[in-house]
């Protein structure tokens, strides 16, 4: 089985959640500088660059012009919020193939200050999107797309709104220790259920936050990683998958995580009980519940029982998740949550998470991202990361 040699050596999350006074490329710059500093490197060391649809202008051309660097390798894989999770895998393979030595991945966005709330506006898709005419007239807001999954999951498996609410409760329990989290108040199941219905069966508190900000990551050749101040993290397993409407034969009860997760576990040789911490994409509570099933932490349809009663709360449950508060409470910059998922896993594996939520002696962590919409088309990317032995 393939073993990746490159190491994840740098991570930085922008502390802002509201940045009306900064340009988009400025945010990309600040997170890039933050990540290279975290790794003990300089922007001039970067010879590989990875970005997705949130980057301004013509992606790497505009951003690299602004940075005034000329990397020899770029990748603009665009699978929505899961892009940055996939970029880690792509960067590692590019480095192992000798295409670059030090790869930078950036994400930034300002949906909050630009009032680009995805929650109440139907997606105005451009005319050349083939699905446009068959979706846009019906007002498919982002919450509505995920609500279609939630409603079907409830119908087939008896999943309840109370069970979904436990996911928000767990995220909020963690967020109270994160001074940068947009929502820092611990909430109860009752708080979630009494919040306004956005798209049945999803309430407002079943949805993630909308924030400005961003983050960046550095992946480097093993020999370079060895000389850096902080220990690099191994990338034991990677997986990627796309799922869509299957030309009308769509099944809303599972996500592409079923396929990306299997790839990552198979490649890593790691078992589910060895995962001590999981960053799980949390655009909505239902996203988490389906992904936990699809990744194999429980049987299909059993996610409701798994997430209930605090099982995702660090120090209390079996699967500590999103200990920064996740997208549900802390940060979902550019309406894309994959970057912050990787960053919190890095903190956990380095022992840099808040002491109240740090998993003791965290050696192996999973990161899972979803991008696009579970109700129509989405990409999934999974990573299994580990501390050096």
């Amino acid at each position: 089985m393939e073993k990746l040699q490159a190491r994840l050596v740098g991570a930085y999350e922008h502390p802002t959640r509201f940045a009306p006074d900064k340009s988009l490329v400025q945010l990309h710059t600040e997170v890039a500088l933050g990540a290279v500093a975290d790794a003990g490197l300089s922007l001039s060391d970067v010879d590989g660059y990875f970005c997705a649809g949130d980057a301004p202008g013509l992606g790497p051309l505009s951003v690299l012009d602004y940075f005034n660097i000329t990397p020899r390798y770029v990748d603009t894989t665009e699978t929505g919020g899961s892009s940055y999770v996939a970029h880690v895998a792509h960067a590692a393979r590019a480095i192992d193939a000798g295409l670059c030595d030090i790869a930078l991945i950036t994400l930034a966005g300002k949906p909050r200050s630009e009032n680009k709330s995805a929650s109440s506006v139907a997606l105005a898709l451009p005319a050349d999107r083939p699905e446009r005419d068959f979706e846009v007239p019906y007002g498919p807001t982002v919450p509505a797309n995920y609500a279609l999954c939630a409603a079907r999951h409830m119908h087939e498996f008896g999943t309840t709104s109370e069970q979904l609410a436990w996911i928000k409760v767990a995220a909020s329990h963690h967020a109270q220790y994160n001074p940068h989290a947009m929502l820092q108040k611990a909430v109860t199941v009752g708080d979630v259920l009494s919040s306004p219905m956005v798209a049945s069966p999803l309430h407002r508190l079943d949805c993630c936050v909308i924030t400005d900000g961003g983050g960046a990551l550095i992946v480097a050749r093993k020999e370079i990683a060895r000389d850096l101040a902080k220990p690099g993290l191994r990338i034991l397993g990677t997986g990627e998958a796309i799922k869509h409407q299957s030309a009308g034969d769509i099944d809303l009860t599972f996500s592409a995580g079923k396929w990306s997760g299997k790839q990552a576990f198979d490649m890593s040789g790691v078992t589910h009980d060895q995962i001590q911490y999981a960053s799980i994409y949390d655009s909505f509570t239902i996203t988490v519940l389906m992904e936990i099933e699809d990744l194999g932490f429980c049987k299909p349809g059993h996610g409701g029982g798994f997430v209930a009663e605090g099982n995702l709360i660090s120090g209390r449950g079996k699967l500590p998740f999103n200990t920064d508060g996740g997208g549900l409470c802390s940060n979902h910059p550019a309406n894309r949550g994959g970057m912050t998922k990787v960053i919190e896993a890095v903190r956990q594996l380095r022992g840099e998470a808040h002491p109240a939520v740090q998993v003791p002696d965290c050696k192996i962590a999973l990161v899972h991202g979803t991008g696009g919409s579970l109700g129509t088309r989405h990409g999934a990317a999974t990573l299994i990361l580990a501390r050096e032995d």
Partner: protein
């Protein structure tokens, strides 16, 4: 409870034109493969199951079944609306709105029938309504 809303006009791609022409006559057609026999939606220029170009437009009786639905709160002072996937033929589901109904009384598995309403440009849009209310 009003579920009336304005429908954004379709751009209408050339390969889907017969679907929209049929809608303007109050008919639901499904692009179906003459080689493998399967239908698909939305309509494509090839069969997305066997890649044959030998396709035909099959008219249905317009009956379907709700596969999933969500009642969407559009905003303050705006009417709620129902977004759904309706199974319109064997293994063929279409995104749609359920109209002329009490949103709170809908259930998954409910039988519905195609109805058509004009968009702003006058092009008919495919919608569904509970069978018993017709």
């Amino acid at each position: 409870m009003s579920t009336t809303r304005e429908y954004i006009h379709p751009e209408i791609s050339p390969e889907a034109r017969p679907f929209w022409d049929a809608a303007n006559k109050g008919k639901l057609v499904i692009h179906t493969c003459r080689d493998c026999g399967r239908g698909h939606h939305y309509p494509r220029a090839m069969c997305p199951h066997c890649y044959s170009a030998d396709l035909e437009w099959k008219e249905t009786d317009g009956h379907g079944e709700i596969y999933s639905f969500s009642v969407v709160t559009a905003g303050k002072d705006l009417p709620r609306y129902v977004i759904a996937y309706v199974e319109i033929a064997d293994r063929v589901k279409a995104m749609t709105n359920i109209v002329d109904c009490d949103p709170d009384s809908l259930r998954i598995g409910q039988r519905v029938k195609a109805v058509f309403r004009p968009s702003k440009t006058g092009q008919n849009i495919l919608l569904f309504s509970p069978l018993e209310s017709l």
